[in-house]
């Protein structure tokens, strides 16, 4: 395509294209990112960094780590679904 046509098309799209007010794809991707994060946090090698039965708040450290990650993923997911729920 020659440059003029390209420019015209650009102008054309700029006039008519406006982001969808309900566009959730971006927010959905945030959730998918959480999945990736959890996958990494709950597996080797990260998990083994916290692999200890030392006392932390009365429970072994590794439990604390797992439950903290778990709880924060719930909070994040909750926040994202509520905040971007159009």
């Amino acid at each position: 395509m020659n440059i003029n046509v390209c420019k015209a098309l650009d102008r054309f799209f700029a006039t008519y294209y406006q982001p969808d007010p309900e566009m959730k794809k971006r927010h959905e991707q945030k959730l998918i990112l959480i999945t990736f994060g959890l996958f990494i946090a709950f597996n080797i090698p990260i998990l083994l960094l916290f692999d200890s039965s030392q006392n932390l708040f009365g429970i072994p450290k590794v439990y604390v780590f797992i439950f903290l990650v778990w709880a924060s993923s719930i909070l994040l997911t909750f926040y994202i679904t509520k905040r971007y729920n159009e």
Partner: protein, 902 residues
Amino acid sequence: MSSVGLLVILVIYLSFLFVIASWAEKKKNSKWTNNAYVYTLSLAVYCSAWTYYGSIGVAAESGLSYLTIYLGPIIIIPAWIVVLRKIIRISRVNKISGIADFISLRYGNDRFLGALVTMVCVVGILPYIALQLKAISETFHIVTGTSSSSNILNDTTTYVAIALALFASYYGTRYFDASEKRKGIVTAIAMESLLKLFFFLIIGVYVTYFVFDGFQDIYDQASILENFDERNTIGDFPQAINWFFLCMLSMFAIFMLPRQFHVNIIENNREKHIKTAIWLFPLYLLLFNLFVYPIAWGGNILFDGVNVNKDMYSLLIAQLFDNQILTLLVFLGGFSAAISMIVVSTIALSTMLSNNLLIPYGLIGKMQSEEQIKNSSLILNLRKIGIFSLIIMAYFIYRYFALDYSLVSIGLLSFVVIAQLAPSFFGAILWKRGSAKGAISGIVIGFIICFYTLLLPFAIGIANLESSFITEGLFGIEFLKPFQLFGLDYLEPVTHSFFWSMFFNFFTYVAVSIISKGNYRERNYAEMYVDIDRYITDHENAFVWKGTAYISDIEKVLQRFLGEEKTKRALRIFNLKYGIDKDTTMADARLIKFAVNLLTGHIGTASAKILMESVTKEDIISLPEVLKILEESKQNILLNKELTGTSRELQELSTQLREANELLRKKDKQKDEFLDTVTHELRTPITAIRASSEILHDDEDIPEKLKKQFLQNIISESDRLNRLIDKILDLEKFESGKQKIYPTENDIVETISKAVKPLQQLLKNKNIDFIFNDSQYEVIAFYDEERIIQVITNLLSNSIKFCEETLGVISISVSKKDDALSVDVFNNGKNINPEDLDAIFEKFYQSSNQTIKKPIGSGLGLAICKQIIEVHKGNISAENEVNGVRFSFTIPANKFEISEQE
């Protein structure tokens, strides 16, 4: 507590469930039963007796690995927002009633694959149900203080199992259409999920804060016990690998366990409920796991040195402190967990057994000649018997195979068997090339390996030292030792089996799919599954089918399963949706798919296919043809979006909405739609070009003739693209005021003659009576001749398109009054919908009654005409006449007025 007393309590509890179910059934559509919380709680059927009792056993006995069963789901659940929605959509439009339907339909509705998946599920889930019965029966004995009898006729729990089987078979088969929502059961399951969590939290708090003095106290006492460190860490690297595989295993299970598929997918009412479930369900699981560690280690402290079943710590602790009520509550919680798993699993399995195995492989022949009432009762009875015998079979498995195993090891075995469906399941929604052959061979190979490395050793008995099979391998070959296959010796039996079976399963699936070519039907469903979002509103259009079929034949088949009234109603709705005349005799692809869907809900995909094949004659279509038809249907889908996409319910809603925001939204909407259409219109030719060139590029052996045809395609599509872009540019220039016109003095009669000339041949070919007096006196006016020719050509070709087919009449007349020149173009075609008279001049407007054929042209013609006339300071309009349609435009004839504007 006495056995009789406990039995009475169980009966009361079951009746309570019954009351809830029938209450919910009556309130089907109320917000009490139909909300995201009920949906989420029903997902918690995942937490069976295994969670309730087994987790504690693992935490006490071997350590953290019980958590993997929940971490797998936790990891994948945020992504449900996309993945689960996709599966729900696919299942909804195809009326899928179980995982066997889901997988087999994708691979070309393969009957054998459906049966295979069913068998895998039955083999996998029976031990799992046995696990629940084992838990019920053992806890029953603990609570009543009785001991299990070796004669099953003397064991009270045998009768409990029979009662449960009767209960479940009555409770689970109230619906004939298997894809219909069972609100009653789902609500009861949700209630049970609340109860089991609540009771578990009570015992958790009791053990932590009443028996002990909080977490710190338990830690202090437990940490001096033997093995404390070892059992509260993941351990070394091989154990971390085990951990990883267990996470993967449970991640598959949350999708593919038949009961999970049932509550996640089939019982989902609204897609938006997923949004709540993705945070609430992990929260539920978190709460359920919070007190596993304190109960397990509390038990270890209290029962240090005593030989008890660690799975039962929660009950045993309550009993140890002689707390009758707590013991009962814990027992009831476990009973709830077990029974909800049993009910949902057996409903799902019995549906699969009848729809994917028994009916398509036998009963379908008989059903074809039966009346609707008989067929319905036959199917219902089939499912009833199915549920009953599944539970009884599970009870025997428990009594004769699973007596000695811990709850968790039985559950994991089921997970590994079910995981064999994973490659073809995920392949179904992600990969278009995956084929039936690949899926079948993958599942078979995977299952064989899983049988060899897990099921067989378990059936023989792991602890059975006399069996040389386990210690020395098959025929004494060390390489074939079932727990160390090919010398892999650092994985635990479950993960070992999972790894090898998945490895071979996956590679076979992919390799066979790549090597062999799928048939057109597979490819058709592959498109539909993978690109479901594109077909969601008009999925019938996505079904490719060519051949001959009579509507009356199809109607007869439908009546045998739906009854006369329902059939009539369904067909009426169908005709309405697609604007099909009720006197049509031949069925098209959309009707075939519609009928298949109706039948699928009742008898499953495989049988629906058999029935349809018995009354229709299908022509074989080639793969490229499928792709081409799909491409065309995509266009149709976009065209019909407005008219057909929304269901009646949605339409009602949107009329209300529209009334409210009409003015505000109109402009915005037009913009969006315009953009949609433009991008689509641009993409269609590009896709066609790309597809053709891809074929040419990839396949060098195409016959010369076909090659020519493809090249011709490319050329004509490029032209189309070119024309389209020209038009868009034209329109854009006009709209942004950049387009100038060059008015000169002209004779409109002559201009019209010029415009008509190139169309004369077409008029002749179509036998249209064309009336225009080109020898009349000249009518002078000022205008840009080229542009006005464009307008007239457009109006004329429009008229040609829409005028009466056999006796077409088109006339053009000219008049000049008070310095205004007007031109009328009349055709005797169908009237335009009065509401649309203005709208037709909008961009990409396509009249709503042409749903079947896509009209030729871009939909930009009239919009450009309007712009041209407006630049001339005139106006253009359309009006209906008694016997046709009149388009007319008026422009000022005076030179002065026009030149003033530029």
